[in-house]
Amino acid sequence: MEIQDTNDEELILRYYQGDQEALKVIFKRHKDGMFNFALRLVGNRADAEDAVSHAFMMVCEKRYTIKPGASFKTWIYTVARNICLSKLRNRNRFSSLWFSKTDSEEEKSIDVLDPKGIARDQLDQKEIMAIIQKAVHKLPEEQKEALLLREYQGFSYEEIAQVLDCSLDKVKVLIFRARNYLKEVLPPVLLEEGR
């Protein structure tokens, strides 16, 4: 079997046995997905890159325990998520220390946006991206994480439950509420089929 076709758990086992190539394959397989997940979560490249780097460092330190039924993918996303949450917490602590608790610029910009009044042909690609970003960032943390893992990483509900360490039913509710919120804040033009 080609090393590229080998599953994550098998690769990790090989890496633990001294095969450095296996780690490179795993890194290449997950680096972009993790980076985008982290980027959408924390909102800046430096922190996202740092999160990916740290998560893989933990692999090097053999923090991952090989167990039957344990998924490496959900483990490393959990690690990346925890690093991102830690960075967000530090950032909030810093901003609450130096700035008064007022709405940020982002919040203001999304508020002034009148979703109902935007015509379909008025939006270009960049603007759509900006609107979606702002709307997603307004979501509560867990809803945002569940939605990102579902919509962008293609995780199943069970995998999301493992990453967020919660029940399957809770994942269903989180995703539904996230969608419900976006349904309210996104311009109707982005909620029309065929766009």
Binding site: Q20, L23, K24, F27, K31, D32, F35, N36, L39, R40, R45, E49, V52, S53, F56, M57, C60, E61, K62, Q125, I128, M129, I132, Q133, V136, R150, E151, Y152, S156, Y157, K172, V173, I175, F176, R179, N180, L182, K183, L186, L190, L191, E192, E193, G194, R195
Partner: protein
Amino acid sequence: MTHEEIKILISAYMDGEVTPSEITIVEEHLSTCPDCQKDYKMYRAMSSSLSKWSDEALSPDEEIKVQKRLEQRREPMFNKRSMMTLGTTLAITLIIGSVVQTYVKHGIQGNLKSAADDLGDQYSDANTFQRKVPAGFIASFHAMPAMRMAKSVGYQPYYMQRNYNVAQAPMYDMNKAALVSAGAFVTQASLAGNLAEQRQAVNQSYWGAQKETAPMLAQAPGVGGFQQQINYDRKIIRNAQITLKVQNAQKTQSVLEDLVGRHNGTVNSLNLNKLEDGSRAGVMTFSVPPQSLDSVLMEIRKLGEVDSENQSGSDVTNQYSYLQTRITSFESEKERLQKVLKKNADDVGNNLYVQGQISNIEENMIGLQNVLKELDKQSFMATVVVTFYDTVPVVAPKEESLKDRTIATFKNNLKSTLETCYYIAVNSFSGIIIVLSFLFQIGIWALIFWGVYLIVNRFFKK
């Protein structure tokens, strides 16, 4: 199921995360509820719109940087697993070490006797015997194997020094004494240069020593077979010194005199002095026939507490034989010269010369015969020096008044308190010094390990 719950299911339905029964519920509901139909369509459109938030790639610089860090990174020196391994190893080592230590301790007392026997078999090799073995090692740990080894190469113990009362010791102490004796013998023999020298060294004092040790070895349990027939034809000079602590030195003197008389011995000298503290000490030197020496010593040991005892024996048979041969040779020479004298009776000058020679020979013969007599005398009687002393009689304390006793008690208590304070101060200071030096050592070692770790980390990792 409420409308809200069905809405949640619709969201999951869109993701294909519902059970077959839930699919039926959702599809039935969607066919009848326009609002939910609208929501369902919105969710699908939303999913499509969200995909407009396109993925970004990790910058090549950052990717290279991360990859380099991953390549440089190795398993840390002390991760959870290695610490667990280290801890477990230490614990197992401590447990095994304690068990082994306990068994070794018991082994010395006899529980591992079989192991010692095995060791004895190893030592029985004559080649091993010739190696120089540290005295203390053999005597204290391998006395039994040493003895077996001695036996296997045809030697018997020839040297013994005891500093405790063998006569009054229990049987196992007798055994120990015999073993230590054997150990000392082996040590001495092994310290001699080669096998021939060893044999010579042993043979020279073989008979005297054997007579000395044989009764004790015969009594010692498990060490039978060492008693040998004693050859009384040999000329052996034996001496013994014994120091005793007795109840009453005066009575001991009488008992000793009686003892010497019973064994056909003679008292050579006697001193008994009263010391300043009221105690008495005496030294008696006497001679007894060598064959009575052991029983005499046994009786002397019973007179009091033995402080020290030394015995020595030297075989002068060779010297004696040599002297006898020399005398015989001189006699032959004398006879030959006398014949010459008779044959040439007229030759005055020659006669004077021959007579002078005969006189010289006679003179030499007398000298040698005197030495021979002295050796006879010495080997005929063994010399024993007994030093004995008693302790100061206990004097009843004077009756003290309550005041005196109170003052004395107070003084004693004060003295004890001051001494305690002094010791606490000294020990505290010593304790602080010890702790500081200990911490300093730990610090030094930590620095060394840290330095090594940094060096290894920096230079020996890819």
